[in-house]
């Protein structure tokens, strides 16, 4: 066999594609499920934390900053292993899916809180004062005046960070979540062929290139907000 045939046989093997494509597609569904769950809970929790932080209650804010710092400093894989292997030994049993969702949500929440908080800080004091002087309560000012302006500015950095964190769903392969990478690795070892790994990579490209391009577009679209 010449080298082209070897290459095609290893990475573009028709028989292997036909046999394992359904598995990879199934993995894509799982990946999308985890990713959507992570984005929903992560961003909601991040926004909630940033809103709570703007009340500036000292002890609570210290806790929030601590939470954010720890989750920003630790590699997600370390957290996944601690929770996945640690919790059963104190009697709590969570599925791989639940652990992956929990860890990535917390990590995204930490990053999102920082981004939202930056946005809130960037709103001038006059906005607070004007809104309060019209008789709005603190909470009304926050939800009707400050957050709508702050959130707008956070769209580009938040999108990029969210993409980076949802891609970490691939870490689920380490704890047996049957997402794309897990399916690809299993198929690779059953078939003795590298084609499933390429299919897996392509599956991520299909899922994430549109989001990456969207992120790029948002960055130019909202660029004025930073001036």
């Amino acid at each position: 066999m010449d080298s082209t045939t070897v290459f095609l046989d290893a990475f573009f093997n028709r028989a292997v594609i036909d046999k394992y494509l359904p598995d990879i597609l199934w993995g894509m569904i799982i990946t999308v499920e985890v990713a959507l769950a992570v984005v929903a809970t992560g961003i909601a929790l991040g926004l909630l934390l940033a809103a709570v932080r703007s009340f500036r209650v000292r002890p609570i804010n210290v806790l929030i900053v601590l939470f954010v710092d720890v989750l920003r400093a630790l590699p997600p894989l370390v957290l996944i292993l601690i929770i996945y292997f640690g919790l059963p030994s104190v009697g709590i049993r969570l599925s791989g899916f639940a652990v992956l969702w929990l860890v990535l949500s917390l990590v995204l929440a930490a990053f999102a809180e920082e981004i939202f908080w930056s946005g809130i800080l960037s709103i001038r004091k006059g906005q607070w004062e004007a809104a309060r002087s019209t008789g709005l309560t603190f909470l009304q000012t926050l939800t009707h005046v400050i957050l709508p302006q702050a959130v707008r500015m956070t769209v580009p950095p938040l999108t990029n960070r969210t993409i980076a964190i949802t891609k970490n769903t691939a870490l689920g392969a380490v704890i047996g979540v049957p997402e794309i990478l897990m399916q690809a690795q299993t198929a690779q070892s059953f078939s003795g062929n590298a084609t499933p790994l390429l299919l897996g990579a392509l599956a991520y490209i299909v899922l994430f290139v549109p989001v990456v391009v969207l992120g790029r577009w948002l960055e130019t679209r909202f660029a004025w907000g930073r001036a």
Partner: protein
């Protein structure tokens, strides 16, 4: 509470695992010394290619950058480590990690540099060129220094991400910090070594995260 401590903060087990963890930390340090400069230099090259005036050069670069930003680094790593042997190329775990990081983090660093260079006004180029500097001199002495200063927080933030990311090398059995900790866990049936590894990561990265948080909020104000 006692059960919690013996499971997660077991001093005896952490003491036993400590030499292993420190050796792992040494490997993590070597890995960082290899992949951070690779990413910083590779990213700058990628950014320069993306700024080329010729579409035929610029577009493939953009496509590749988006490509490598869309594929999770772990997938890229497994592809290189487990896929390439099928066509007769057998990279060691260390080399596989370096290649995967060059492609993935290089793309991220590239995007950051590009944003920085974009942020430098056209006037800077024109002024530098009109004093007789060549394009290369303008880039090296005028544009890049200002661009790097503008995106310094992003560069630091990405570097923290790169250091954290070295933990995925454990999946291809490179004996870095997390791999050593996980090995100690499976030998002792106790997750304390991973908690100890987490503490080591925290000690290393917390100061950077604190600094970043200050930089980010100052810029925002």
């Amino acid at each position: 509470m006692d059960m919690f401590i013996s499971q997660f903060l077991n001093v005896e087990i952490i003491g036993q695992a400590l030499p292993l963890l420190l050796r792992g930390l040494g490997m993590t340090a070597q890995l960082c010394l290899a992949v951070v400069p690779l990413g910083l230099v590779g990213g700058l090259l990628i950014a320069l290619v993306c700024l080329s005036k010729h579409r035929a050069i610029r577009w493939p670069a953009f496509v590749l950058v988006d490509f490598f930003r869309a594929v999770p680094p772990l997938v890229l790593l497994i592809f290189i480590y487990a896929g390439l042997p099928f066509i007769g190329i057998r990279p060691s775990p260390f080399v596989a990690v370096c290649i995967a990081f060059l492609l993935n983090t290089g793309s991220y660093y590239g995007e950051i540099y590009r944003a920085g260079i974009d942020s430098i006004g056209k006037g800077q180029w024109e002024a530098a060129r009109s004093t007789g500097l060549t394009t290369t001199q303008t880039l090296v002495y005028v544009v890049i220094p200002q661009a790097v200063r503008n995106v310094l927080p992003d560069l630091v933030s990405n570097t923290v991400e790169v250091v954290k990311l070295t933990s995925i090398a454990s999946v291809v059995a490179l004996p870095e910090l997390l791999y050593s900790a996980d090995m100690a866990r499976s030998l002792t049936y106790n997750p304390s070594p991973i908690v100890a590894a987490a503490v080591i990561y925290l000690i290393l990265l917390w100061p950077c995260v604190r600094l970043l948080s200050r930089l980010e909020h100052r810029v925002a104000r």
